[in-house]
Each structure stands twice: as C-alpha cells, then as structure tokens.
Symmetry: C2
Subunit: 212 residues, 2 copies
C-alpha cells in the first residue's frame, strides 16, 4: 500500500509504526470478542485494554470512554445486521400472513443463532439494562423495527389477526430459543445442540405461523 503511494509520488506515507486507525480497530475487535464471550460482565476498560494489548488510556482518547466505544460497536453491529436482513426480505408479494411471516421467522432464527454478539446484547439488556446496553441496543433495535414495518407495509392484514401480538410472540420465541441454546444447549426440555434439533424447531415454527 505505502509503496503504491510513494510510487505515485504523493506526499510520502511512511509505514507508520504508530497507526491510530489500526489501533482503534484492534480495540474494537477486542471489545467485540469480550462481548461475545462474556457479555457486559467483562466489558470494562481494563479488560478490553488488556485483551487489545494496549493501555486503557487509548480507549479514552480514541472513543472518549467506554460509552463511546459502545456506540461505535453498536452502529457497526447494526450495519452488519441491516445487510443480513436485506438478504432474506425480498420475496414476492406475500399472499397470507403465514407467507409473510414464515421467512421472517426462519431468517431471524438463523440470524440470531449465528450472531453471538446480538445474543449477548439482547440477553444483557433484559437481565441488566444499563447505559451501556442501551447504547448498543438502540441502533440495532431501530434498524430491526424499521425493517419490520417496511415488510409489514407491503401486505394487507387478514381480518381478525392481531399481527403485532403474533409477531411479538414469534420474535420473542426466536430470540429466547437462540439465546437459551448458546447458554444451555436446550430450552424447556428440548435439546438445541444439533442441526437436527433446529430443524425440528424450524418445522414447528412453520407449523405455527402457517396455521395462524
């Protein structure tokens, strides 16, 4: 990279031994790792700095403290989330509530299953809401809600169906199952370890939403 710059003849950019953006990224990565592993328990100035291999002072300088760092991570997560949501939102005009909500439910399920950080943020905001959890969850929740209403706007609701309540139930179940699976490997006596287990869940979910 630097070779390119000098070759072009720009103001030389010597391979800096001190690179702020790289450092900042290291810190962000360390914080994300900790968050995935231990949640907000280990999400502290000392712990993050230790894992990033730098002094905690840098976190204050680069991000103006933990809250700033949380904001950065929150928006990063939200961006990744937005991208993922797009991938399973475009189906043709749904014909029924089941048609509409089934891919939504399955998509969310897999999204939550595969994203440990979102699991931790969700779980911690339920167990121990704080400034930090709220900062992180805010951007994410905003995008998810926007996405949902955008989907909802596309279809007409059947008469007599309380779509808001039904969705809250479905989404709640999906979140709970995903979180419980990584925490215990099971939920309410149902093992949630193998792919076969999850296929059962998917089938049951489909059954629920289609028969509604």
């Amino acid at each position: 990279m630097e070779d390119l710059a000098t070759a072009i003849g720009q103001t030389e950019v010597p391979a800096r031994r001190r690179d702020r953006v790289a450092r900042a990224q290291t810190i962000i990565s360390a914080a994300k790792e900790i968050l995935s592993e231990s949640g907000f328990d280990g999400f502290g100035i000392n712990s993050i700095a230790r894992r990033a291999g730098c002094d905690k002072q840098l976190i204050y300088r680069y991000f103006e403290g933990l809250e700033g760092l949380a904001e950065v991570i929150g928006t990063e997560i939200a961006d990744e989330l937005s991208a993922e949501l797009e991938t399973f939102s475009r189906k043709e005009a749904p014909k029924s509530y089941g048609d509409w909500v089934e891919p939504l439910a399955i998509g969310l399920l897999n999204l939550f299953r595969s994203n440990l950080i979102i699991q931790k943020i969700t779980a911690w905001e339920l167990a121990s809401p704080s400034r930090l959890t709220r900062i992180m969850a805010e951007a994410r929740a905003k995008r998810m809600n926007a996405w949902m209403v955008s989907l909802r706007g596309e279809m007409k609701h059947p008469e007599g169906l309380d779509v808001g309540a039904l969705n809250a139930i479905i989404i709640g179940a999906v979140q709970h199952l995903a979180i419980s699976a990584t925490a215990f490997g099971s939920q309410a006596g149902l093992s949630l370890a193998t792919d076969a287990d999850w296929l059962r869940v998917e089938a049951a979910l489909r059954h629920f939403v289609r028969s509604a």
Copy 2:
C-alpha cells in the same frame, strides 16, 4: 406468645433479643428484594448485609456464604412455584393439543408476569450464567420440568405434532415476553404495559395453540 408459654408453665422462653431464625429470615428477605430489583448484579455479600442491616459475617455463619444463601432462596422459590403450578394444572382430560397447552401457556404467562424473582433468575442465567445463577435455577427448573412431563403423560399426542418443539417455542415466547415487559415495557414494537396489552397477547397465544 411468650405469655402463653409461661402461663402454661413450660420452660420459659424469654423474648429473645437475639433470634437466629428471625435474623436469617431478614437476610433472606433482603437478598430476595435485591434479586428482584437488581438481579445478580447487586447480589453480593456486602450489599445484602447492608440491606439486611447486619454484618456480612452472619451470612457466612448462617448460610456458609453466598452460595448457601442462594441454595436456600432457590428452594424457597421452587416451593412457591410448585404450589402455584398446582393451581392451574387440574383440568379434565384434554381432548386436543390446544386443550392441553392453552391453560398451560396462559398460566405460565401470568405466573412469570407476576413473579419478578423468577424473571430475574431466568434472565440472568441466560445473560451471565454462573455458579450462583445455576444454583438458583436448578431446583426451579427441576420442578417445572417434572410438572410438565406429568401433564404430558396425561394425554396422547396427535400424530405429526412435535409437542416438544412446539412447547419449547411457546414457553420461550412466554418467558421472553414477561421479561421484556418488565425490562422495557414492550417487545418487538408491541407495548406490554397495560392489561389490555396483555389481553392481546393472551388472545394471540390462544390463537396459536388452538390452531396448531
């Protein structure tokens, strides 16, 4: 009370200024309060002793530390839970899956809604499992599972219904909604503050399980 004892002529039981069991109960109550309010965040030796108005040493002496205290509280909670579960388990032989699971779902929903401690224990075990959370959740989970299988044994399952998966979904949803309601007052855009809100949830839940 003491008057009665002396009147009868028993070995006099002077109104003790130091009463171990009363003290112990004070400590347990204090711990439960803290648990309801702050979860396992504030569930520490110092904090509990402060709230109970006594020295933390007593917690070590009476309960052999935090873990012992957690065990006592866990079994207390489990006992209360067992009693409550009995109250809505006895319906006549159910004729369908919906018949069987509807009162179960609604009962669990109201039980979780009204029991802050169980909410906190559940939420914390998902967010930050530890020795303490596990100790507390163990007795409770054991009784709940026993109760569920006892119910399950009473009915024959319709063919093609994955009862285990369906139940896991329903129970997960119920738990998540209750916890989310006390934490935010809403879930997935659905307000969960007023009784009317919860009636919507109950109706939607009934709709789900009946149509399954």
